[in-house]
């Protein structure tokens, strides 16, 4: 008979330590506020029941709100990526750079964005459009003028333990927060330069790629140091590596140009006692063994629509890696029947929940999922998350 009931923090830490907690913890990547699912949520009874804002007296923001946790309360999450330090890097924006009318250029990474209507709601959304740093000369020009990423770290942010502890305490009845690293390496590389140009320079001028990756890594390492000083226990790092059925780069390219830098980030976290969890969309099963060897402790997303095999990953890496997500938010949550949704929840919990080391949740953030499907999903999670798993 199980009588132990853990706090949200205890449940999170125990799961990350790959031990079996009292119940399977829940993690959602989030819900897109411009999507139709969020609009339906706002009009629902559930919104009224769960509406909650968290204050923090150390916030440097005028209104002091540091977190709208209404969605997280509804989903009953145990872990969520949110912190009081917000944007750690002061990104510079250039309007309509030459050759890209109507776009904005984010100068640290070289990505072009444009505000366009969100699908289904028409609400304004900042879409990634293209990469602007197609040559080292263009990148150098903008970094010289607006600063390299590591020079843009916001020094006004107070990373004190007092700020972090009060934040954790204020959230403790609802969830355990993990801090976001606020940078990405691989995504910034191929989105800022374009895939074609990255491949071109990997073959013709590898030094250029290493120079960019070194700079992004330097930024990440500095942020890890500051998070550690604040007392952060879990860090979240979003960086897409996969596409449908394949990783974006080959394992060979990944090992040469990406993995050495990931290793530095993972090891910096581990050295400071911070659990490191990475998000990546797409198929990455071929990269994960190397990432785990390099020090990764948790992987989130695990998209079945891209071909990720959660059961096989659990079997092969489950003694060293914690899994978060995996429930199909692409096809089943959007277009499946209530039975399909419940069966998928059971399937993932059976595949990855045995013995601990698994956070149940969808494989992506929630976009235009029908509201009634979310309710079915939510109910199924609560029904099947209890240990021992007798279904």
């Amino acid at each position: 008979m199980r009588i132990l009931v853990l706090s949200k923090r205890e449940r999170v830490i125990r799961t990350l330590e790959l031990e079996e907690p009292d119940i399977i913890p829940i993690f959602y990547y989030g819900i897109e506020k411009t999507g139709t699912a969020y609009q339906a949520f706002m009009e629902s009874e559930e919104y009224k029941k769960n509406e909650k804002y968290i204050k923090n007296s150390y916030s440097r923001f005028k209104n002091n709100w540091v977190g709208d946790i209404t969605v997280q309360r509804f989903f009953n999450v145990d872990l969520f990526s949110m912190d009081p330090f917000r944007s750690k890097v002061k990104y510079s924006i250039v309007q309509s750079p030459p050759g890209a009318p109507g776009c904005v250029l984010e100068t640290a990474g070289g990505r072009l964005f444009k505000i366009k209507p969100q699908v289904g709601t028409g609400k304004p959304y900042l879409w990634y459009m293209d990469g602007y740093y197609k040559t080292p000369e263009i990148r150098k020009k903008y970094w010289d003028e607006y600063g390299k990423p590591s020079e843009l770290i916001d020094d006004k942010i107070n990373y004190s333990p007092k700020v972090w502890n009060e934040y954790v305490e204020s959230l403790s009845p609802y969830l355990y927060p993990m801090a976001n690293l606020g940078v990405n390496l691989h995504e910034a590389l191929f989105e800022g330069m374009t895939m074609s140009r990255v491949m071109y320079y990997m073959r013709k001028d590898p030094k250029h790629i290493h120079e960019v990756m070194t700079e992004y890594t330097k930024t990440g390492l500095e942020i890890i140091k500051r998070l550690s000083e604040a007392g952060v226990e879990v860090a979240f790092y979003g960086d897409d590596l996969g596409s449908k059925g394949k990783s974006i780069f080959s394992l060979k390219s990944f090992r040469e140009f990406i993995l050495p830098y990931y290793r530095q980030l993972y090891q910096a976290c581990r050295k400071r006692g911070i659990f490191i969890i990475q998000h990546s969309c797409g198929y990455i099963d071929n990269l994960l063994p190397d990432m785990v060897d390099a020090g990764l402790q948790g992987i989130q997303a695990l998209e079945p629509a891209a071909g990720v095999d959660l059961a096989n990953l659990k079997e092969t890496l489950g003694d060293r890696l914690c899994f978060l997500g995996g429930m199909d938010s692409t096809k089943i949550l959007n277009f499946g029947s209530p039975k399909d949704i419940e069966e998928d929840v059971k399937k993932c919990i059976k595949a990855a929940g045995v013995g601990g080391g698994y956070f149940a949740g969808p494989s992506h953030d929630i976009l235009n999922v029908p509201w009634e499907n979310l309710l079915v999903f939510h109910a199924a999670l609560e029904k099947y998350r209890k240990y021992p798993l007798n279904f």
Partner: protein, 216 residues
Amino acid sequence: MDLEKITELIVELELDEIDSAVQEALNEGKSAFSILDALTKGMNKVGKLYEEDEYFLPELALAGDTMNAALEILKPILEAESADLEQEQVVLATVKGDNHDIGKNILCSLLLSAGFKIHDLGKDVDEKIIVEKVKETGAKIVALSSLLSTTVVHIRDVNKALKDAGLRDDVKIIVGGAPLDMDLAKRFGADDFADTVVEGVRHIKELAKIPVKVKE
């Protein structure tokens, strides 16, 4: 310039060398069609390497750029020489609301090298524009890309718009993109689905052989 060398430059993704090689071959009196054939052999080999997991998306993208650099030189000559030839036409687009075009652009390069005439409408394309292009060109194949679970539903809108315009029976719709599989593609009214761009070319070649329904 040996035509095999041109094939090799595509396979080896030699973007910097392809235009001078194509120019040299033309200067030596080689026909634009023989050069296109050499380029196509290269792209076929690139596709094979992708399927064998030797090449990945970035290699496909760079091969596409290399092919396009060669086509920049060949295009005017090919257009002049092929005015009397019948080329199968494909209307290509990323559906409304979706701003992803890497897969679509790679497919475009592969289809060009396979001898199709492509009407690339770009990304975030309204169904009305697709219908207009089908009307204008008489294309029998519409290839649609959608990367997002939020935008795949717009395949249904294209299907409906083609039906409303009385064109659906004359056209085959093929779709591709991360959230899709054959089941979803059919649910949205498409005729076919391809999981990868390389598979997409193969399917489109097959579709081009199938006669469309003749209206009674």
